[in-house]
């Protein structure tokens, strides 16, 4: 009876509980869903807090987001502690290293700006690797010295444990610092240094941590010999470099896979994530650094995958990655909060305060020492201001806490003290340093960067790259740019052919341009172009900037192609609204459809087709320019018909007015105008006419020395118009 009605209670339940006395209509069973439910609640709470955080404008400027996350964690911890609830065992070594850590690492690696990273890679490697080592050993050894002092009651903490603690606590997590930097847009070099450090630091610290743990687990670890130390040293390199190699291999494999996924674009994100995760796991199998493997995989993969996958997959990957890493971080911070308000503490004034002191001191020492040396090799050394900022941005975060939390209590009897000390350092750095670093950056007036995404900039940068490479070739030296050029050549020749679909290497200028055009096209389409009538001066676009740019473009086109400006009657302000408006509507609708279609298919705007924006912009009066941008084929058929028609009136006009001298020209111009005005109804609607003239202009341009012709056409309206017409006529 009851066993039939309650099948859910099957596994592990005692016999008695299966037997109820009555049939229950309504039952509550919380234990069944406890773990997932609580996890979900924590995540939701953190998300809600984030929403609130960003809604209240002043908060993000005051403090970094990590503060908020920790606060939420503490809150949850307080609730759990207060209700004396038994926390579900969500965090243990396996879960942390296998599930919580990878998403965070992946996100960091994927969103890394590759170019500045590789330009500064020498400094970054030098600083991250040696900085981590220096910090770890420095803090460890200093603490060991402190532990020797009898008065503090720490003599049972031996050297190895101190070194381990040092390596744990030197894991830097400058997310907060980076957020501040991004908001203050500090110069790229500084940003890259800290970003690069955060990327590599985790990997290195975990490697060190594992080595020390391995030492602790050695059978007779009291008698560690120099052989073992050397082995540890060698292991460090093997683990680090092996990880990177692994990652690169996996990156290439996954990029290769995405080459063939045109027809099933929905599995593209899956490929990306699974391959990265696999790289992590297989590296961990061999005791190689999974973190470095995953980072290298993400960096390698990104370039090729972005070219191959559809627009939707690209967006999915981005957002899913962010989501996953956000979930992991939240969970870790909740755990931190729970631990804070728990009974896991052992407070020892000396240990805690000296830890904090040594963290700050050693960071400053490592920064100034290492940068002093690396500045000698840099063309643009880091100033003292920069170095001060870097040393101040050594915030600790979730990784230190996790490593402390996961220590085996059996091997480390003073584990609780470690946890306490770690927590104190984290709270101090995140809250106090995190909040004050913003004002500090502003106060020191650190050099800023101008991150404007403009076509001009892209073109100039490209030009400069080639220029520098060329100059280096000429003076016969190898330098950065040559290496980069060589890599690019190799990349284009072999790698891209293998890894990218359809063999269409797109240059960065083109992709930037495309990106900007897409953005603008969507903006334009969204702001309801159909409703804007062409009756008044320009488009009634709701937003100011597109209108400005649009009128700018109008102006430029209007003036660069003076040929169309004949008489006031053709001025765009007094142009009859009918034809142009209808045409505008038609073209707009056509363009919107094709835009929607292409976006739906999941492909970015195909480059072969005309770019919609240009067409949209010039709908008003500058059909000429739009015609130029649009597919020549379609209009050519129209044009050829009109050309014929246009030639006749022009030829007739020519016979009437001889272009002997300037006055004659102006004279004929007015005649032309008049006759043109008269002929207006007879002519085809303006756009095509304009097109026809444009075509002739184009051919002129191609045949003659272009520069002279275009320049003249720009400068003097009247004269040029006529000269041009005459030229055109002479040709025919």
């Amino acid at each position: 009876m009851s066993s039939d009605t309650t099948p859910r209670y099957e596994p592990g339940e005692a016999e008695d509980s299966l037997r109820d006395e009555r049939l229950h209509v309504f039952k509550v069973n919380y234990y069944y869903v406890q773990i997932p439910c609580e996890v979900t609640l924590w995540i939701l709470l953190a998300s809600l807090a984030k929403i609130g955080f960003h809604l209240y404008h002043r908060l993000p400027r005051l403090m970094p987001e990590s503060c908020l996350q920790i606060a939420v964690g503490v809150l949850v911890g307080a609730i759990i502690f207060g209700t004396d609830h038994k926390t579900p065992p969500v965090m243990n070594t396996n879960i942390y290293f296998l599930y919580l850590l990878p998403p965070i690492v992946l996100k960091e690696g994927y969103f890394m700006p590759t170019r500045p990273f590789f330009e500064n890679i020498g400094s970054i490697l030098w600083w991250s690797v040696l900085g981590a080592l220096l910090n770890a050993f420095g803090i460890g050894l200093s603490l060991y010295a402190i532990c020797q002092i009898e008065a503090f009651g720490l003599t049972d903490v031996d050297l190895l444990q101190n070194l381990l603690f040092g390596s744990m606590i030197s894991a830097v997590d400058p997310v907060a610092a980076l957020a501040v930097f991004e908001e203050a847009s500090v110069n790229e070099q500084l940003y890259m240094m800290i970003f690069g450090e955060s990327l590599l630091n985790d990997g290195i610290t975990v490697v060190l941590y594992n080595i020390f743990i391995a030492f602790s687990q050695m059978h007779r670890y009291e008698e560690i010999e120099s052989v073992d130390v050397l082995a540890g040293f060698a292991r460090f390199f093997v683990v680090g470099l092996g990880g990177i190699l692994f990652g690169i291999v996996f990156g290439f494999v996954s990029a290769f896979m995405t080459r063939f996924t045109q027809n099933i674009s929905s599995i593209e994100p899956l490929l990306v994530f699974m391959f990265s995760y696999l790289s992590y796991l297989s590296a961990e199998t061999l005791y190689i650094s999974g973190i470095l493997a995953m980072t290298a995989c993400a960096v390698t993969m990104k370039k090729y995958v972005e070219e191959n996958v559809s627009q939707n997959s690209y967006t999915t990957i981005k957002y899913f990655m962010k989501m996953l890493s956000s979930v992991s971080e939240t969970l870790i911070f909740v755990f931190m909060g729970v631990s804070t308000v728990g009974k896991n503490h052992e407070w020892n004034w000396a240990f805690v305060s000296f830890t904090l002191l040594f963290c700050l001191v050693w960071r400053a020492i490592s920064v100034f020492a290492l940068f002093y040396i690396s500045n000698k090799f840099r063309t643009y050394p880091f100033t003292a201001k920069d170095q001060l900022i870097i040393s101040y941005s050594g915030l600790r975060g979730a990784s230190s806490f996790s490593l402390a939390f996961l220590l085996h209590a059996s091997l480390f009897p003073r584990k609780k003290m470690f946890i306490t000390a770690t927590l104190v350092v984290i709270y101090f750095t995140v809250f106090i340093q995190g909040i004050t670093i913003g004002p500090l950056v502003k106060y020191l007036d650190v050099k800023k960067t101008n991150k404007k995404e403009s076509i001009n900039e892209e073109v100039h940068m490209r030009l400069m790259d080639h220029l520098k490479a060329g100059i280096e070739d000429i003076c016969g030296h190898w330098g950065h740019y040559q290496l980069r050029d060589k890599f690019k050549k190799f990349d284009n020749k072999y790698l891209k052919k293998i890894l990218i679909r359809k063999n269409e290497p797109k240059s960065s200028i083109v992709s930037l341009y495309k990106k900007l055009e897409i953005r603008q096209a969507i903006e334009m389409a969204e702001s309801g172009m159909i409703s804007s009538a062409a009756s008044t001066a320009s488009f009634q676009v709701h937003r100011l900037s597109p209108e400005e740019v649009e009128s700018m473009r109008d102006m430029l086109a209007h003036n660069l192609y003076q040929v169309r400006q004949r008489a006031p009657s053709y001025n765009r302000y007094t142009l009859g609204t009918e034809t142009s408006e209808k045409q505008a509507k038609e073209i707009l609708i056509r363009r919107q459809n094709s835009l929607r279609q292409s976006l739906r298919k999941g492909h970015s705007l195909p480059w072969g087709r005309p770019v919609p924006v240009c067409k949209l912009l010039f709908v008003d009066s500058d059909h000429v320019v739009s015609a130029m941008f649009s597919s020549q084929r379609r209009l050519r058929s129209l044009e050829s018909k009109q050309q014929h028609k246009e030639i006749i009136p022009m030829a007739q006009l020519n016979r009437r007015a001889e272009p002997s001298d300037f006055t004659a020209q102006t004279g004929s111009s007015s005649k032309l105008d008049r006759s043109a005005t008269i002929r207006r109804p007879a002519l085809m609607p303006k756009p095509q006419f304009g097109t026809a003239v444009m075509r002739r202009y184009e051919s002129d341009e191609e045949e003659e020395a272009a520069a002279a012709a275009s320049r003249q056409s720009v400068k003097r309206a009247t004269e040029k118009r006529d000269v041009h017409f005459h030229k055109a006529q002479r040709r025919k």
Binding site: D473, C475, N559
Partner: protein, 203 residues
């Protein structure tokens, strides 16, 4: 400017450059355009012609006249190289500004091929086409559109809101300076050899 440059460069580096000059010129006292064809790696550079052209551009050589020189001697060679040296930390504001202007002028001359002091749409198009010429899959259309877009951007930066009858003829040097205002060219336009030991030598 050249003398300032010479003060800051070691004799070793000048030696090296002189050797390279001799190598290129075939032991002649002057170099002509054809001599640059001997550099194999330069072949693949899409803006090769502009770079070579820049060496012979009289405006870059600080000669009063305009146009192209037929041949340049070692001093001219060094003059061109001086545009690429990195800035020193101990320069004052005025020197830095002057320096920056010089570098930007060099770039400007690369764009402005007809020497009229303005970068017109056609010239800009030319540059973009050359830049993208290494990529066989791009049509000329694309290069044109890009140049047009860039030109319009430049117009909006330089002139702001234009009257309906205003003409935007081309980017003048002042406009060019405006566009480059946010970007620090000093850190980008330099070649490392000029303050480090040589790493390798390509023949």
């Amino acid at each position: 400017f050249l003398s300032l440059f010479l003060l800051l460069v070691t004799s070793e580096q000048i030696e090296h450059l002189h050797r390279r000059f001799k190598q290129l010129s075939g032991d002649q006292p002057t170099i002509r355009k054809e001599h640059f064809d001997n550099i194999p790696d330069l072949e693949f550079n899409p803006i090769r012609s502009k770079i070579v052209h820049a060496f012979f551009d009289k405006r870059n050589l600080r000669q009063e006249s305009d146009g192209l020189a037929d041949e340049i001697n070692f001093e001219d060679f060094l003059t061109i190289m001086s545009y690429f040296r990195p800035i020193e930390m101990n320069m004052d504001e005025e020197q830095l500004d002057h320096f920056r202007k010089e570098k930007l002028k060099f770039l400007f001359h690369m764009y402005d091929s007809d020497h009229d002091g303005k970068i017109t749409l056609q010239e800009y198009r030319n540059v973009v086409e050359e830049l993208l010429s290494g990529n066989p899959h791009l049509e000329k259309e694309s290069a044109r559109s890009i140049a047009d877009g860039a030109m319009m951007e430049a117009a909006s930066i330089c002139v702001g809101q234009m009257e309906p009858d205003q003409v935007y003829e081309g980017i003048t040097f002042e406009d060019f300076l405006k566009i480059w205002q946010g970007i620090d060219i000093e850190t980008k336009m330099h070649v490392r050899f000029l303050n480090m030991e040589t790493i390798a030598q390509c023949h």
